[in-house]
Subunit: 337 residues, 4 copies
């Protein structure tokens, strides 16, 4: 079976494993105060600024819940696109920390500026409604769309005018940064957002995400939140080592670029065979529309998600690529079409 | 100013005040274990069954959060119509106890059976989505609509087939029970729902709601939840006395009936003057559509909510009646039209 | 049976009931924005300062949990004497809002300055221990002890030096202020503490406590917390009316003074009969040491708590007085001794 | 510097790293449904029973908070020894999920049966006190003491008679099982406790703990709790692989045995040099009493904790050994004494 199901049922990049091996044999301070984590933080700061605070945690749900619960007072709410990961596939993790998510309708997974303003206005009725205080978006979105600089600037401006924190879930930031339509770098993202996280798991790590705090209001005591939610690893070096590998020699962006190229090749192959795509391919997800018969046939050799029905005969499928996808995998799929 | 703004900026019914006065002068056991609360509980049980457990609390948000937080495990979620009070005007009180609200689109405030099934199905993906476990509805709804027996039976059946608790917010249950379209009594409600509350505040109390637990699974240790959330009054007799008054000599239903009759008179008056209603009047809320000029003129003598815009010239207003509304208030309004 | 069991199994003061009656008959803005609540807030501010914010809620557990949860970030903890009400008899209400209580050993219910410093020091190990951020004390304490000005100044100073909020649970503040050993007024308390509450329930109200916020940091958005925890009454006038009565014509302090005088008479009577007291009587609680035989005999006509065993033959009992205690009740008890 | 400071500022066992490397190169189902995690679960079940459910998470605080929050209803509390890790060094993680910890005085870190009964009795006052429902102990304790079978049987019996869950924090279970005084195996522990966790991090893993649920009441929907608290890793194979390595060829117990032997050698060396131990050495922690001058001298070459002061001249230090400690490390320390 060739995997187009997701970008996380794979292993880690060999350089990441090698980095872990290389830091194993000595005693180091625990809890992320080790020299490996220091070097990893500096490598990331080199791309942003020494002013940002950086914390490593093992997964995206942990990153999201720590950052949101750490930023908000009890009565404050999050505004998120309806298909934002925190609103759909995190088992109510944010609500479990006490905070309401105000969901905004969204066609493509992106947060539309007018929809954001409308949601803000409709949810402002002190003290009867939870107070909107933080806007959550994902880049790339859950369906692979990528924010442009002007889009992010617009959202950032709306947030600042309304005293809303802007937070970016970067589970697929590697693919976003490497997207052909991307015109943002980490430093600019850190200026436009108040905090975000750099997803390692889908970009070559065993597991690991780097939280970046740029707004000074969000920094004090953040380490307490990491510890309280169970995310402070004693052997923190092993998270640091992974990010040291990912941020050395451009591995992080290369992994995203490779995944995106495979997705582009898939997209071109699918359309060249005469099949439409549901959506333009901006990062590492492709959404072909195929007949149900063809889908059935493909399922013997390829794993992928059945995304949605178009009608009785046709459906949308989702193909996801990663740094491990081979061009031969793509070719096989196109041939099988 | 004549008040059609809401049914809670008024005082209490004189019989309720008299009841409070009458139980003041002796020593009684604290924390709701007094004979007055016992009598009140029995009066309510007389209309339902001795099998139900009854607790008195001071307000609707307290009732909702205690009942929901008491019923659910941490990963379990509530399904509610999008305009359900817990989803809009309780400042995230349910989420503050850790639980997600899955909101269901609704035109008239009621929960549609097909929409409920769809929401259940779309939110079932263990363990990645919070598990739907409780369905919340209001009767009357936030816009005054009333559930019929067949509607409630249908919802109850859907819930039982899916292991979902059915809970009814009865902030305006007095008006619902007294509605011309109502064909349910408290006993039947207690059979179809797993728990509900009987709203006193809008029906003549100073403040007070009676929680009714009929599903035996929900009863153990409920008193702990009441205490933990700050709702266990030491001088519990004063809640009991109010419900003793409301459930003696049919005062509770009479107060609802009076409010409804005033709303019917308002509706008839409005339509007789040639103005349409946005919605049929089923309980104590009326939604006339008027020109903005007329609305402006009415605002000098009457208080009411501007509900929604129809177009540049016309709007919907909301008129709410209560047990204190006089027929002369209604007549004045119709005359002013 | 004559009641010395507690100060809350009684009714309300007649003036409080009269005040409720007197504000019943008109329409007023809901949610505490009514003129009655305004007047009550002003009466309290007259004794403190117009700079303090005041909110009325129905009970002590609600007051405690709203104030503490509103003041703290998720990783912050409360320091409290081990027998502080929040640590013993509130069913984990504070922990249910997410916060640890660090308990400090205490002989007499008071927080000892050295013990406070020790608890602070032993619980400071960022980020591995919850961060001490708020100190909770009760005045009078759960056993009737009263803080002097110098004691409160010392605690206040310790708190300010360590960035700790100082909060006072005033369930029995009426008795504390009226205590012969008290040398503090409300204005001074508001300067030494960051927030506190004035207990109405035990001092003549049906139910009701007045939260006073003096530290400006604690004021923003406090109304959201009141609403979110279910404490914002729609008919807020009925809380306002009670405090208007209690703070007119010195009723609040008179009720405390009466209770204290009854306790003094009890204390003198007990000692004059040759029985020792476990503790000095500073407010409205008396702790005689009696033989178990005598206790048994007294239980036929008087209700009180069996507090603790001294040995096989003797025990401590607790006698609580209130504004309803009659001198004839006291005399009967002394005679029965 | 030779490390006796702790057992977690070290790396992983080479076999653990090799196991991670060996499972890297193929696609596998995500979220712990991979064959590697299956094999690891079976290896552990082989030592207990196929009836237990097993989940892998990355750290001890996560394990503790998921297990406790998953087991308890909102009003239920934990009883724990005062120095239990959840009560001291987890930043209020348990309280952050809403639950009170009732702390029991303890000299040696163990929970004393009489003290447990006393704490249970003193905290039973429904509904005014949080309801004791779960007893938390650590084996080995935070100071290296090990429970014997008869001790654990006694605690288990007390718990079952009172409807209390018994939970064991096994951060150092490797050392406990390998202790000379241990007479329990995993299967017996699973019978006496309702749930426990097997600590990997201190026994050779990079990071990882295995949660074992034996009481059937605790199993339903446990996967939701793991996901909601952020502990469900997408690439679950990397946790499975570590436990497959630890539970193959007795590595888990061997690592504990080695650490314990080093501690025994340290103990013998210290006493042979004429210095007393504060406590008997039962696992991998040693508590010598030394003069402050000697401690100062040792700090140049050895890292360890200054545990407590004995008097002006002498102190207790803590020496911790691990699977990485060399006998030459021990010899150097004894020589330096």
């Amino acid at each position: 079976m060739i995997n187009f199901k997701d970008d996380y049922s794979i292993g880690a990049h060999p350089k990441v494993l090698a980095a872990i091996q290389s830091v194993n044999d000595t005693t180091m301070p625990a809890y992320g105060e080790d020299p490996v984590s220091d070097r990893a933080r500096k490598l990331i700061q080199n791309q942003i600024s020494t002013d940002v605070d950086i914390y490593f945690v093992t997964g995206g749900t942990l990153a999201n819940l720590i950052m949101i619960a750490g930023a908000l007072r009890p009565h404050e709410a999050v505004i998120a696109p309806e298909f934002g990961h925190i609103n759909t596939h995190e088992t109510g993790a944010i609500e479990a920390t006490g905070h309401k998510i105000i969901q905004v309708p969204s066609q493509d997974g992106k947060l539309n500026p007018e929809a954001l303003i409308k949601a803000y206005d409709e949810n402002t009725m002190p003290p009867h409604m939870a107070k909107p205080r933080l806007v959550y978006i994902s880049n790339a979105t859950e369906t692979g769309r990528v924010y442009t600089r002007s889009e992010l600037e617009k959202l950032s401006q709306i947030c600042r005018e309304r005293d809303l924190y802007l937070m970016i879930d970067g589970a697929r930031l590697s693919a976003a940064l490497a997207s052909p339509i991307n015109d943002l770098n980490l430093s600019e993202i850190a200026k436009l957002a108040d905090m975000f996280w750099i997803g390692g798991t889908k970009a070559g790590a065993l597991f690991g995400e780097a939280i970046v705090l740029s707004n000074p209001e969000l920094k004090p005591d953040f380490d307490f939140h990491v510890k309280q939610r169970g995310a402070l690893l004693s052997k923190g070096r092993f998270l640091g080592a992974q990010f040291e590998a990912l941020f050395s020699e451009h591995l992080y962006i290369q992994n995203g670029a490779h995944a995106n190229q495979m997705a582009q090749s898939l997209s071109e192959g699918v359309t060249s065979k005469g099949f439409p795509l549901q959506d333009t391919t901006e990062s590492n997800q492709v959404f072909p529309i195929l007949s149900n018969d063809k889908i059935k046939a493909l399922e013997d050799r390829f794993s992928f998600y059945h995304w949605a029905n178009i009608d009785a005969d046709q459906s949308i499928i989702r193909l996801v690529t990663s740094f491990t996808t081979q061009i031969s995998d793509v070719d096989e799929f196109i041939d099988a079409l």
